[in-house]
Symmetry: C2
Subunit: 662 residues, 2 copies
């Protein structure tokens, strides 16, 4: 029993389950009190079971879709609020415990041990390597070999291991990538070291120090300074080169936030957030004046996985294949934001609540940014006969977060515009991952020499947007749309059509191909075609790793621009729930990958889910170092015969008479 | 002699050539006085030759590149200012006269008759069809057949003819597409008529009224109203749904305009404008603090051609293949702009000067808009160890124009950002071209029924951005960049590279392919690779018309995403100088198409020009009618190992200490 007391802080014991706010809507993220309640119940159970546990996560267990939809339609009471927790039993490495807590009945409902899986690395886990590697004799020796005496100047970025056959999933692993700093705020990525360390996360132990020599030679430590902080660099532009651009909203914002329910210009949605995906938008609907009703669009939208495979074939680079969502968690890595720096205008922030290793909640202030922006022309037409113009301006509602994944930084922007379009934009910035070049070793062809004797390797960023559609109702299907010249009755040779094919499972990329998520049960009365939303994805870079490579197996989702799979409750993540050290094999129930979901027998039309992959292949440029100008990628979902006529007709317009302006 | 007096208005005779402003820089568009001077000299010559002429255009004859570059380098005096005019001899239909006037020596230098070509249709030409068709007996009869008695309610949009074998280039042709209006400001495109008229532009004569029956049946006139002007439609959003977003620049703009020379944040360029391409940017350079010098980027940038092929194989639709630049002229169709409607913030406008049929100049007020916008994050990095963030905001300089091409409207936005990127964005809006559906005739598969019995046909918009590069100097070449998995020494299967191939002539599209415009004579000292600018073109839709079709021949440029051809003075237009009624064959000197230029023998590296094609295939949606929400397409040119290090290092930054925000 004494063991248990260690992990139940005395200050937490006063949190009584009865204090839970029972008004929370189903998709609302767990509150501080709910996390405290769940942790308390779990600790009690662990104590009874005589287990020494560490919390990996406590997050919302979303209700079953059937129950939640029935509740929304007034057919049954609100579903129970539940928490889902992943625990580590410190005496059972290589397995986890999954716990489900019912927050309404205040009971642990499920307690389940899962073997042969490795959970997310948390920020606390990631502090480990630097702490234990600096004083490790082999590490010190490896550094001395490069002339380094002061180990306080050596820093380690912790990465997941990819998959290392030496240990499989018997141990919970991290690899540490070492860098050197010349001074306190010096940019360490200009000084990469030529070895990596492998650490056991649970046992806090360095398992291996791997030197990466080329022809038996070590790469010298690059010492050239490449800084970006203002304290280091010359003033750039002369003063006043860029004069202020002020964006003000004297009457306030046009959106309304009621709890986490966000309304704006006909749209209505719920803004959620969790440790893994960060922002989750659910119950997204739009008001259609022609029908005088709120029409559903998406049951749930989130960035559910991503992978960053590196393209240098020499160790340790084949193990660099960051799954920033499944291995680290976008929620956990989220920046607190500040107006003027991250966004301009009138900003509304939401905090996020995360859980630490002891089961205690903590807050990331200003984790979610909600704001509006002017978005240029929405439409314009001039009658050339009398010169009269009609024009309207578009604007966008943006729900965003910024995350830091060691060297890289990503901005995620969920954007809605007045024409009924949803767009996910992702901004890639931060600092390139770098490696030292040994004497005579060229950076080419696997990288670019971005600073003297420092190479940045070719890599890809492939993101997976999970779209659980609800286009005008629950029954949806996907049509693949291909533009095609016709052979018959085309005497002038100009004829072409859009060939539409019902698809499911994995879909291949092709030039100018798009997909429509349709509702086959709802016809648009104007054109007599099913209502739909089009997926526009022109930024699928392909997966360049070979089919037998580990990353190709682990990130099978990324090998196709689109997967259409059956909906199943709680199956959100295309690389599985437990991603670290996964090998891509099919796995236990609850840990299915997209391959497992696609293998099932399911109809083309019904409750389907789309995973849309897009991103960029990054061949680094000298312009990307020491700090990377934003590179933007994105995917768009746009109304396609969803509305009976142009949805911009109800936006305020401006008429310009010819005499006014010419 | 009396004939001549008719076309020399008395008010113009006082304009003396000596009043020319001799300070104009070489790429500056012709001034009012210069046009008057040129017209005066041309009229005098025409009078001497006893010709009755109509002016088709008077525009700047840009100096030869060799002379202009020598002048810029201080090696020779400023090149002469010259005007280029196209004239119609009213007694010689089917030919034109090209005249070159030297505005410094005040002399006509060249007077050249060209046979078998047809010049641009001007706004005055385009007024013709409606004027003469309304009273034409056959047209009246065709309308009566649809129940129309009041011909003042019938309107004709004039279009170029594509190519009509019935007349070839013997006559100068237009086709008129008829519409009906229920009331004065009614949207005519909801009421298309089922015939077209063919008119002779020079003789002001209706040549044919072509009824387009289906199975011997005429399509009834669609009478359902579909309006967008505020006087017709219900108030949309409740008042105050969208609260104002104000954008102010209390200290003014950050750019500086000296004549037409625009400077902003290191960039320097000349803003030109002509009747054909509209905005022309030339002498584009950027200051590089690392080199402490202005480095050239582009000798000249413009949208040089575009084509809109329609995909319905039934007449008259195969003849609908609008080349809005070569057939109508983006300059001529340019809107006068107004702050708040077309752009927000502090706007600087430039007027444009065009020439009418009598050789008189006229002004389009506010034709060019120059303004700055905030552009979100330029970069961000957070040190996860101490939580300190560094961030900078990007902004963009935008040089834009909006044109109206009958039913369609296009916004052209030339955009520069702080990381050295140039992006051309084009916004497509306005109203769909429509046709009536006869009873039982489905809109599918060649169109979409956007209103009852009204179809909008499948079509493409393919634009051609002409880039005359000067990347760090005159000698440039193009590398095709393909991402490629490697087979050798790739035991882990993760290795991939960028394969680069020197190319010229037409280049094929491929997934994730890009091109680098490099200067093979200048190495970036950081990475030891040639300096370059990357062409990012993910929006090439392919040309869907079959190879033997007329539009495929005429718009050969649009069949490839990129052409790399040799530079030749005055060869700007990829479909030739004389586009109306062209058949795509090789033609006279001066009227070469891109096919002719690509056939020449030229080295891969040297003074090359790139034509970049991009756009969209538009399968109309019900959302696009009666007014089309903006659809955006674009192409990007981005520094690629051009700078030694990140060009954003000299942009003002904001440091966020961890304690401030978390």
């Amino acid at each position: 029993m004494s063991k248990c007391r260690v992990i139940i802080p005395a200050t937490q014991t006063t949190i009584l389950p009865v204090r839970l706010r029972r008004t929370l809507e189903s998709p609302y993220p767990l509150s501080l009190d709910e996390i405290r309640c769940a942790a308390c119940l779990i600790r009690e159970d662990a104590c009874k079971k005589n287990l020494q546990i560490v919390f990996n996560c406590i997050t919302l267990r979303e209700p079953q879709k059937r129950d939640y939809q029935a509740y929304k339609h007034g057919q049954c009471p609100r579903p129970y609020r539940r928490a889902f927790a992943v625990l580590l039993d410190t005496n059972s490495p290589g397995s986890v415990i999954e716990v489900i807590v019912n927050l309404n009945t205040v009971r642990v409902e499920d307690w389940n041990k899962i073997d042969d899986v490795v959970p997310t690395l948390t920020p606390t886990d990631l502090e480990l390597v630097e702490r234990i590697a600096r004083s490790h004799p082999e590490v010190v020796k490896a550094c001395q070999g490069l002339g380094i005496q002061d180990m306080s100047k050596v820093f380690f970025d912790s990465w997941a291991i990819g998959f290392d056959k030496r240990w499989g999933r018997e141990r919970r692993l991290q690899q540490g990538l070492p860098y050197y700093r010349l001074s306190q705020d010096d940019n360490q990525y200009a000084h990469p070291l030529d070895f990596t360390v492998i650490a056991d996360t649970n046992n806090e132990e360095i398992l291996s120090v791997d030197l990466h020599q080329v022809d038996g030679e070590r790469a010298p430590l690059p010492l050239e300074e490449h800084n970006y902080l203002p304290s280091f660099i010359q003033p750039g532009y002369p003063a006043n080169t860029l004069k202020p651009i002020n964006i003000t909203q004297p009457d306030g914002v046009s959106f309304c936030l009621d709890g986490n329910v966000l309304s704006w210009a006909g749209y209505k949605m719920h803004v959620g957030f969790n440790y893994r995906e960060g922002i989750v938008l659910s119950d997204v609907s739009i008001f259609d004046p022609a029908d005088n009703r709120q029409r559903p669009l998406f049951y749930r939208l989130s960035v559910a996985e991503m992978v960053v495979p590196y393209g240098c074939p020499e160790p340790p680079h084949p193990t660099k294949q960051a799954f920033d969502i499944g291995e680290y968690g976008l929620g956990l890595m989220t920046n607190p934001l500040r107006s003027g720096c991250d966004c301009k205008g009138v900003i509304t922030y939401l905090n996020a609540t995360m859980t630490d290793h002891r089961g205690n909640p903590y807050t990331i202030k200003n984790a979610i940014c909600i704001h509006e922006e002017d978005n240029g022309l929405l439409f314009k037409h001039t009658d050339f006969r009398d010169g009269q113009s009609l024009t309207a301006r578009d604007r966008r509602l943006i729900i965003s977060q910024v995350v830091t994944a060691a060297n890289y930084d990503y901005g995620f922007y969920h954007i809605f515009t007045l024409d009924g379009t949803y767009k996910l934009e992702i901004k890639l910035t931060g600092i390139l991952n770098t490696s030292p070049l040994s004497v005579q070793q060229p950076a080419h062809p696997y990288g670019t020499e971005v600073a003297k004797d420092v190479t940045a390797h070719n890599h890809q960023h492939i993101f997976s947007l999970r779209v659980d559609p609800e286009v005008d109702g629950a029954e949806n299907a996907v049509l693949q749309c291909d533009q095609e010249s016709v052979s018959d009755r085309n005497g002038y040779g100009n004829g072409f059509i859009c060939r539409k094919t019902l698809v499911r499972g994995p879909c291949d990329p092709a030039m100018a191909r798009s997909w429509d998520i349709i509702n086959p049960t709802k016809l648009n009365p104007t054109c007599n075609m099913p209502v739909g939303y089009k997926i526009l994805n022109s930024q699928y870079p392909g997966m360049l790793a070979q089919p037998e490579s580990i990353v190709h197996q682990r990130a099978a989702f990324a090998t196709k621009p689109l997967w259409v799979v059956p909906y199943q409750d709680h199956r959100l993540y295309p690389a599985g729930y437990y991603v670290p050290q996964s090998s891509g094999e099919s796995n236990q129930p609850g840990n299915e990958t997209i391959i497992d979901l696609a293998k099932r027998d399911y109809p083309h039309s019904g409750d389907i889910v789309c995973y849309i992959q897009f991103g960029v292949t990054h061949f680094p440029r000298t312009e990307d170092f020491p700090i990377m100008p934003v590179e933007q990628v994105g995917v768009t979902l746009r109304a396609s015969n969803f509305f009976r006529q142009s949805p911009v007709l109800w936006v305020p317009t401006m008429v310009i008479e010819s005499s006014e302006s010419s």
